[in-house]
Amino acid sequence: MTEKEAHITVRDLTMAYGDFVLMRDLTFTINRGDIFIVMGGSGCGKSTMMTILIGLKAPAKGKVFYGEVDFWGADPPTRAQIIRRAGVMYQSGALWSSMTLAENIALPLETYTDLSPARIREVVKLKLALVGMAGFEEFYPSEISGGMQKRAGIARAMALDPEILFFDEPSAGLDPVSARRLDDLILELRESLGTTMVVVTHELASIFAIGSNSVFLDVSQRTMTATGNPNQLLAETRDPNLRLFLTRGEKS
């Protein structure tokens, strides 16, 4: 793969809720095929960053580019078209509770492809198997555990084979084995389908295992203080806050 082609570019971004500025002056690039980690302590605006990237909340200032297109400068239909090529896994699954898992995953397929119902069933089965939940088609979200809801949420996000997958806290609340399998899945999808992954997380194990690029949002400075491969950051950083974060506060 000859890469380093910018997929998402964020420039001078400021996130704010009304007068309250959460983060300012964020500039970084997510390359095609990256597994990009957005990391930082609780309340630093990781999830808000994701809502801006997926088009749910407008930034207070600054620009987001998808390829060459100015995402927030574009009109809503263009924005909708861009975001249709992305899949999003929300923090607690956000499965539609009145539908079974199969119906949840089938909805994007029914809406945006003209596959036959039989083909859709096959795809649903495969996606559920990929997240380790084969055979759960007829269950309702309220009948499965939180971790399973999360995995089903990933299956739904993957339904359309998106170019970009966003994960909000994917491994929080999963048992270690499931979390590991999820990391493997993310790596595997990137390897085999070339999907760009944007992962919002503060799980250190995942960060080092899968991250190929990252941005660190520092709550105390109200801006980003580092970007790059997490393993490299750990080796090279002088910033005490980042070091504290990457070593779980243990002094080395």
């Binding site: 539609w96 509770s97 009145s98 492809t113 003209d114 596959l115 083909r119 096959e122 795809v123 089965k125 495969l126 996606k127 198997a129 990929l130 380790g132 939940m133 084969a134 055979g135 759960f136 088609e137 007829e138 269950f139 309702y140 979200p141 309220s142 084979d161 399998r181 493997d184 899945l185 595997e188 999808l189 390897e191 085999s192 389908l193």
Partner: protein
């Protein structure tokens, strides 16, 4: 766009079938189905091995994977060895990942049809169970009220204040509108008949007694059922979904006292006041018709109303109002507490709260009317 996947099969040796895949194997494109390979395999029972050649494959995604999964299930059923070596490495790994966790076999199938008798039986059992739950809830409320009277109930005064505000002052506009119009409508209907006898003046009696004794309470009750009862159910239902009620229980705080009691108190206290207000609005509506359409003097209309409506009427009206308030609050809280753990369950709870409240209001009106008849008041 004619991105399509091609498939050719050949048989290099007696027991081996080679599937050559080429082109674009993407979901949504034109793809050959796994059934073609299956048919070939069935036609040649000697084949024990299935191998792939994907050197000509340009692009692939889920489209290829579902094809392979289908083929895989068929092969394992027919005891044919499926050799994944010829596949793209990514596809091999994804297939491995997909089969890493065995399929849950005791999973249920989509609901099967049930016979009419089973359905009837289930419904009957459900009915008795829900009646039992309702009684249990009523008992819990009585205990909570008892604790309140002994000054032991745990609830926050500020909550009570907020709920009182939500179900009294904020309800005034809609209660005004509805009761004013009901008074107006009653006056119109009465006027048409009474005019025939030249007895328009009795419109004042009709509107006054009907509103004060019954209609104001019923209309206010129904408005509150839709407005506040539904809101209570949705509120408590959402708390149930978020496990907030569990959190209260584990803290040793009774949700009956903390959540249900203030709501019941608020509605029970505020409904009579709302009814009183509704009485005035209803009489005002009748007066508008009487004074402007029937040429009854303002003072005359007032005197006629004052003479017709006695304290018993007012008392019965306010009493009914209080009862309706408690019914609406209890129905809302009951359905909210029974709520399941999903968004649609919250919707069901709100619907069922309004229905329960309205049924309760009508039934209790009937009971009160019959009782009053017995007592001769």
């Amino acid at each position: 766009m004619t991105a399509r996947g091609e498939m050719v099969m050949e048989q290099p040796s007696e027991d081996t079938l080679k599937v050559i895949l080429s082109g674009h194997w993407k979901l949504g494109g034109e793809l050959p189905g796994a059934d073609k390979v299956q048919q070939t395999l069935e036609a040649r029972p000697g084949v024990r091995n299935l191998v792939f050649d994907t050197r000509e494959l340009v692009h692939w995604d889920t489209g290829l994977l579902t094809f392979l999964v289908n083929l895989g299930t068929f092969c394992s059923r027919q005891k044919i060895r499926l050799n994944r070596d010829g596949l793209p490495p990514g596809a091999q790994r994804l297939l491995e990942l997909a089969s890493a966790v065995p399929e849950k076999t005791d999973a249920r199938q989509a609901a099967e049809g049930v016979s009419f008798l089973t359905h009837l039986g289930n419904q009957t059992v459900d009915f008795f169970r829900s009646a039992g739950e309702m009684l249990e809830f009523l008992g819990d409320t009585v205990i909570a009220v008892q604790r309140l009277l002994r000054g032991k109930a745990q609830y926050r005064r500020s909550d009570l204040g907020l709920i009182i505000q939500a179900c009294s002052a904020q309800a005034l506009p809609i209660v005004s509108l509805i009761c004013f119009l009901v008074g107006l409508i009653l006056a119109f209907i009465g006027a048409i008949q009474l005019k025939l006898f030249g007895a328009q003046i009795y419109v004042a009696d009709l509107v006054g007694i009907a509103m004060v004794r019954l209609m104001a309470a019923i209309m206010t009750g129904i408005v509150m059922a839709g407005r506040t009862g539904g809101a209570f159910a949705a509120q408590l239902g959402t708390m149930q979904v978020n496990q907030e009620i569990d959190a209260l229980k584990t803290l040793g705080i009774s949700p009956m006292e903390f959540l249900v009691l203030p709501r019941m108190l608020a509605l029970g206290l505020m409904m009579p006041l709302l009814c009183l207000y509704a009485n005035f609005m209803g009489i005002l509506g009748g007066m508008v018709v009487g004074v402007w359409m029937l040429d009854i003097g303002f003072i005359q209309y007032y005197n006629q109303t004052a003479a017709a409506v006695n304290l018993w009427n007012l008392g019965i009206g306010l009493f009914s109002g209080t009862v309706f308030g408690v019914i609406v609050a209890l129905a809302g809280c009951l359905r909210g507490m029974q709520c399941g753990r999903s968004a649609s369950a919250v919707g069901d709870a709100a619907t069922s709260a309004v229905v329960t409240a309205i049924v309760g209001i009508i039934v209790s009106t009937a009971v009160i009317t019959v009782l009053c008849n017995f007592l001769g008041i």
